[in-house]
Symmetry: C2
Subunit: 409 residues, 2 copies
């Protein structure tokens, strides 16, 4: 099948998915979980084949690629957990009487066809497919070539499971394979409504530069912590160490710490941070460099305003934190920082869909429209307006024969 | 000033606007209204100069360009009306306890810098500027060259009014002039967060094809009405005539009417529509052609399913209507049609921000993300997450020493 044929099939599937009852979607999710659970042997085999084929990869990439018993169990549990979440579509946002017997309802609905491009990780296919099903969207998936055997098998098993669910449309979950496929996908903006890249900065940048389709994601995570003059030393120490060292390669790790010039414990703070194996760069060439490891930039600033200005200039709009006991300063910071997450006395590592209690995470967005920060199922939905009348026409209102009531119901 | 300098100024203004109190924004709006009201003489003069300079324009374009007493009064009242609307930013969407003393708040905030490109109409500048101010966004405006005198004067008066408002930042409202300016604007995706084109299909298409910045708008309005087998004749007649003739060049006018093959009054319905001066095309070459005048396509369909399929294939995703007394069919239609507005027994002309009760309209969007259908002030906002803690770190939760409570407050 050509990419265009796949997209036409996905578009048709998406139109049927929009009308599916939540029970059928949940039935589909449980069928997928069962199917994967009953085929773990061949799943592990496919993963083994991928690992054997993957030459010259680092230990960390090998560990990421490897599907062990624990990861497989979490993967299957993840599918069942998504079935338990509230149906994100057909939710009434509000209902309004425009006039007698003329009722406007704003209701959530799926986006349509979503392309998800990700690097190798064995559980992404089932996770994204489950989120798409729960939100009534069709997906086109493209995984890393290192896991082609596993990805192909999992999509095959998912589609077998879906075939067994009465009423579930075909062509909802699709896999494509090559860079050429991706290039073609990115060109069909009339068929694909949203692209979600999950992976390295360079992957996200490549996609943003090569498509007219809206892209939901983040290219980099340049998070900041500002240690105000009134910062509590223990909090500052704990938060900076957690934000930098708890998982240094995560996008919500801190890259730059700004310290007020009159903060009394600056020396001690630096000492403590260094003791945790963190390398400190005091005048980096690039204030928006993402270290991704136990290295961070440090800058002295002379005021709250200077800290805010620095952050709004160099941040990637992900997550920033002020450490202070001064409530007024905290409020000014939270008000004026233009990032998706603005924190007071808490680790930047909290920026995560599960920690925010969303139950599932599509990814993190540094976009300024649609969805921002950790994105849950809600980010895979949009809304439509339903208007129920009994023959009303606009001319009566333009002429003044009738008047709108505009009463929220 | 270069476009880049203008954009840097606008970006700085947007960061200050985000922190402005609603009172100051309203003060600014009232100051603008007063300023324009006190300078109507020179405003009419500038408009006259534009009209004298506009050669070879049709009567209808002349009427559109002309600012008369009534339009001027409405324009000024429009600004005062926007001041009365609820502040769309700093609205708490929800508040959640993640754990003791760890509170997550989802709050609305401005998008940032918005570029608005529109064709000649004298009241757009003040309307868009007012919406931007109320939603704490900075704007870059580009109007039609036919109204360059009026546009320049109004932006000058607006900025003079804003200078008198203590605390209001400079460079919030900016005007650019040429096609080259627009081309440059469209290239600065790192400074401009959203583009709103208001005007012809070709303007919107040009913009969508020439920028990586998200675009909010609609290129065309191909609206449909389906007359079901159980349609009430009087309702069908009234709704079709209103949808086609009340304002034929509007984007929410109907272009195609589908009639069920077994509908008993098809002949009479066509007769009545023709009596209103509507030309009917029974097998057009292009089912997605926007007539924009008193002409419409007509097609016989053999089922509800066929109607839904036709609409989802040819519609521009704007507004569609089913006329039927069969509630089940109405529900299926409303559930399965993938458009921003789906109506039952009501004219498609209701698709409008004022008729929906939004108080102000930014435009109509056929996007599938961010904002869809008539867009009010809400479409000029996004949200951010504020997290207030007292020193919490993620490591405690990963290790299991602490557990999330995730309680909605």
């Amino acid at each position: 099948m050509s990419i265009l044929e796949i997209l036409k099939g996905a578009r048709n599937a998406s139109l049927s998915l929009a009308g599916l009852k939540d029970e059928i979607k949940n039935q589909a999710l449980l069928a997928i979980a069962d199917k994967l659970e009953n085929n773990l042997d061949i799943i592990f085999e496919a993963n083994k084949k991928d690992l054997e084929g993957a030459k010259n990869i680092s230990k960390s990439v090998f560990n990421r690629l490897k599907l062990d018993e624990n990861k497989a169990r979490d993967m299957i549990q993840g599918i069942r957990d998504i079935a338990k979440l509230e149906n994100p579509v057909n939710k009434i946002l509000w209902k309004k009487e425009l006039d007698d017997h003329l009722i406007l309802t704003k209701i959530t609905c799926p986006i349509g066809v979503i392309g998800v491009i990700f690097e190798a990780r064995p559980d992404v296919i089932s996770q994204i497919s489950s989120l798409a099903i729960k939100s009534s969207n069709a997906v086109i998936l493209k995984g890393g070539s290192e896991s082609v055997n596993l990805n192909t098998l999992i999509v095959k098993l998912i589609n077998e499971a879906l075939l067994s669910v009465s009423g579930f449309p075909q062509n909802a979950i699709n896999l494509i394979y090559s860079h050429e496929d991706v290039a073609e996908l990115l060109s069909f903006d009339e068929y694909v409504n949203l692209i979600i890249p999950r992976g390295s900065n360079s992957l996200v940048k490549y996609i943003k530069e090569n498509t007219k389709i809206p892209v939901l994601g983040h290219a980099s995570g340049i998070c900041h912590i500002f240690v105000d003059i009134d910062a509590d030393f223990e909090k500052a120490k704990k938060i900076i160490i957690d934000s930098k060292t708890q998982y240094p390669s995560a996008c919500n790790s801190v890259e730059t710490v700004l310290v007020h010039k009159d903060y009394s414990f600056k020396k001690e703070l630096i000492e403590e941070i260094k003791n945790f194996g963190v390398e400190i760069v005091e005048s980096p060439e690039d204030w928006s460099f993402e270290y991704g490891e136990k290295t961070m930039s440090l800058k002295e600033v002379s005021s709250l305003d200077e800290a805010i200005e620095h952050i709004n200039k160099y941040s990637s709009g992900h997550t920033e934190c002020i450490i202070t006991e001064n409530i007024d300063n905290a409020q000014i910071f939270m008000n004026l920082i233009d990032s998706s997450g603005v924190y007071h006395n808490a680790s930047t590592r909290f920026a995560d869909g599960f920690r925010y209690g969303f139950g599932a995470e599509v990814g993190i967005s540094t976009n300024k429209i649609h969805a921002r920060g950790p994105v849950g199922l809600e980010g895979l939905t949009i809304y439509k307006y339903l208007l129920q009348g009994n023959g009303q026409i606009v001319d009566d209102y333009v002429k003044g024969d009738k008047k709108f009531t505009h009463k929220l119901l």
